[in-house]
Symmetry: C2
Subunit: 656 residues, 2 copies
Amino acid sequence: MAEESTATEPPELTVDVTELTALLDGRYADVRAKVRTLLPAYASVLEDAETMSREAFRERVKEVVLEIAGTGAAGMGFPKEYGGGGDIGASIAAFDTLAYGDLSVLVKVGVQFGLFGGAILQLGTARHHDAYLADLVAGRLLGCFAMTETGHGSNVQALGTVATYDAAAGEFVITTNTEQAGKDYIGNAARHARVAVVFAQLEVAGERHGVHALVVPLRDDAGATLPGVRIEDDGHKMGLNGVDNGRIWFDGVRVPREALLNRFADVTEDGAYVSDIESAGRRFFTMLGTLVQGRVSVGAAGVSAAKVALTVAVRYGLQRRQFDTGAEDGAEQLLLDYGLHQRRLFPRLARTYALHFAQEVLAGALHDVFSGITPDEESRRLLESRAAGTKALSTWLATDVIQECREACGGAGYLAVNRFAALKADTDVFTTFEGDNHVLLQLVGKGLLTDYASDFSDLDQLGMVRFVAGLAVDTVLERTSAHKLLEQIRAVLPGGNDDWHTDSGLRDPNYHLAMFRFREEHRIGGVARRLKRGVDSGMNPGEVFSRVQDHVIAAARAHVERLVLEAFVAKVEALEDGDLKLTLNLLCDLYALSEIESDAAWFMEHGRLSTQRSKAITREVGDLCRRVRPIAGELVDAFAVPGELLRAPALVGGEA
Amino acid sequence: MAEESTATEPPELTVDVTELTALLDGRYADVRAKVRTLLPAYASVLEDAETMSREAFRERVKEVVLEIAGTGAAGMGFPKEYGGGGDIGASIAAFDTLAYGDLSVLVKVGVQFGLFGGAILQLGTARHHDAYLADLVAGRLLGCFAMTETGHGSNVQALGTVATYDAAAGEFVITTNTEQAGKDYIGNAARHARVAVVFAQLEVAGERHGVHALVVPLRDDAGATLPGVRIEDDGHKMGLNGVDNGRIWFDGVRVPREALLNRFADVTEDGAYVSDIESAGRRFFTMLGTLVQGRVSVGAAGVSAAKVALTVAVRYGLQRRQFDTGAEDGAEQLLLDYGLHQRRLFPRLARTYALHFAQEVLAGALHDVFSGITPDEESRRLLESRAAGTKALSTWLATDVIQECREACGGAGYLAVNRFAALKADTDVFTTFEGDNHVLLQLVGKGLLTDYASDFSDLDQLGMVRFVAGLAVDTVLERTSAHKLLEQIRAVLPGGNDDWHTDSGLRDPNYHLAMFRFREEHRIGGVARRLKRGVDSGMNPGEVFSRVQDHVIAAARAHVERLVLEAFVAKVEALEDGDLKLTLNLLCDLYALSEIESDAAWFMEHGRLSTQRSKAITREVGDLCRRVRPIAGELVDAFAVPGELLRAPALVGGEA
């Protein structure tokens, strides 16, 4: 087209797949290599998911989980004295690599070692560690994490299960008072868990102290449900049918005083409630904060699932031909040579790379906080916010990428053997579990608006509305990290449409960063203004929140996208000059510009993008896609999904 | 917010559900009522899909299809003399209502009566009708429609199966020359079909005449595969596992001369090929054109699936409470009272209404063309284009709506009992079968650009590039219907940003129509300009097409959206004044404005939306959502999905 640059195209890039894989694998390359060698032995599980009855498949998945536990790949995050690997970062790396395989196996690993094991480790003390960790790490004791209730998913502070302390007996009495207070969607509950970590309202001497966790036996050694415990199967699910989710009700079940996971609060022998954290809300969120690894893991698994989908779809596009090309040999054109096909797949490929590196930074932060390298309060809060936001983006990425890749493979994409069926069904719940994505982004938004105020945890959404409305907008902005970046923004984005009629600097990372930072800052300020205006106009805080909610979410998204871009840009800048750096730079540009393109209306509305420059960005995205085309195969090969897991040899072993 | 109008809100609307259902059901209310009474008896099939083995479920679905055939609900489109209902419009209405139930049943009905039966009816002549129709309408003869091949999905003109005429024997010899030329994804092939309508390259006396259809027996009365026929099971699919899809290869299978479906071409007794249509391409597209009912049906089914999803999600949002509202009674807030929740569901609800009425117009056009009311060539072409485009939009609607509704139901949405699992998995292939959506929109775009030139059918994409590039851009525009609407556009959209700083007229349908029409006209002109520029610059036509492809798709989409809006506006305008009209008007405004909002960047780039007005539209969409909120329950109740098909009584029978 005349619109495209007629200048000489830059030379084609050469991608060294091994080198790129090494970059992606990073510091835990050996862990990832180990898991990659484990996975082919379990490739048949992918087929079992289709052919076995639900009950048989659950048993099969349990077996595989126990075998994996036997290799040490599942317990890497636990202390070495209990048979773990003593390396939290390694445990995330192992988990995200396991995500190339069957996802029921992955999620059952997550339930047993992440949720159940994590709760014992993080909320318990030595007595619980000594009693349970060695057995659970080895897979001898299976357990579950019983938090969510039918009536309360996202608002866990309002759970209905109660644990009342009976001082005379020195026991807690666990009771489910209503049907809606039954625990629900609990993985491992329907069949395999012997014990549960149960979250309940703690009541001592007639006083409620908020939600606490206790270890409660569910089944005897023969697998029979214990007295007072009622369990129901959640039945068939959209996916993950190898995981036995269920509901649990308790009718006056008694556990000893020591069953309370007492790291943050305890009941003394003489029946007194004690805790170093005074506020019940803050205490609960401190407990939850220690469980942040689950969100990091789910996000990482989402990115891995997207990688599998892209591997299949790109390879398919490199061998499938369709319609006349005008080529002299009469061959039909490769799907991947169609501009639209490139447009559908490559920005998503670039975004997958972006979220890979964002997850890498996040996993590093997790490791540092939980290994005592940066155990300070601020690092913890930033980690929690980053984990919540990245989880939302990574799991939505999975949903979006898998769907587009499936459609890009036409009818072949619908056959289970090509993996999309299970990928789609199994990952679907990622956007919901470990925190609903919208609720997570609201948390991120609340943190941004209140700068993680020390009373942050106590602020529900209405408290947040009142708190922010009581501040000057400038005060809100001063509290945010976005504000600190303002000077850089102003320097690169002089503002006004007139300055932007050319397409110069479109591939300058400083331009991308400035745009992302401006959006974040402006979005946060906009929310603050709206909250103030709403409250000032006399509207009740609930109504104010309802009307501002989508702006809160948008501000949080803008914040997390900025973190993602910064992680990607930093990664690229740290590389030595050469084709690897140019390749990553190309993907980073494509990620940044396609993100700006997708939000172009907002940037135009806020005076940061002229109509001419907006069109130039669209052309640039097309150009970048054409530059990705010759290296697209290598870019997915670098994910190094074991060939045995790409089930259809006819599909993926072709001309590419 | 201060931004919102502080004027008195209009009074709440009252929705008479029965009246609204009657409006939606339209001229075929009795047919839809009949099918609604049939469906509850088959509600258990929804559960069978989860609990039965694949083989057992296929048999179960076959039984149900035969029972439905027995009621007459499946054969309404066939001539009465063969046991049909003689009413094509009725057959679409019956089909889209069946889509409230299990979709394997629906698709098997579609395979048997739509694809197989439709091919016999439309491509065959009296000898075929007499031989097959009565049996197939009654379900005594099951068949399949064998067009797609492993190697050729979308480019069906390039199929590899060959039918060679053996003049001496008076027989055709059907042969699959390569593995890739095997028929693939063929419904009914793996188990139940006795005969197939096979599409093959017809070769007579050494000369090829393009793709034709023949009736070929596959199995004997005992179900054993006949000599020369090899059938393989497509195995497990993402969804629709009650339909037995398979692959078929032919090794010199002989059928008599009379097996050729000879409405448009024949081979005479003395071995001469005869046809009234000279061009092989045009002949084939004429044949395909008679099969347009399949696309109309799939689109209608997509809209029905979206209705089921919306029914569940809206009712869930009306009973599920979450987080503190600040209400005095301490009750948590209903999900549907959250602004974000409204934003997620209501524009999709409005779009579903829009596509409902678009499908109604389309079904009417189908009925008129095939019942001889408007059998002219132009009506046929407009029908084919409209069917292709509406199918794409309706099936993407289903994918999008079902996904958002599932996420809006949180963990409950992931349980199979709440229907999203099957809805999502079963409808996923709708975007691919009966024509890949992108390929269909390309067809629409090609038609717009060439004004369905008489040599239209012969133009492949490269021919189209050359053809359009040879015209003046004005000529292209003059050929399009968009151009004819230009005067109206200019009158309502004076152009220039400065005229649009207020938010006046945002709810004026003439404004919406003018925006949609402007976009269509400008998009088409843009494609023509790009094609010319590309060819003029010496780029090869394949490369030109690749680069312009996304613009072709965008132009086609803009065209179809305009048709959708026109259908909706016309429907509203025809209503008498009253709450029903106000209700539909509200939904039409919400559809139009949220569509403009989603494409706001483009409108701004092209000078038809100021940044201020763009923001005003976003606010207006929020306002409209709040107006929909009090009547949301009634708006989904009017879809009248039988309660038995909403499987989870706890979910849908609650406080709403």
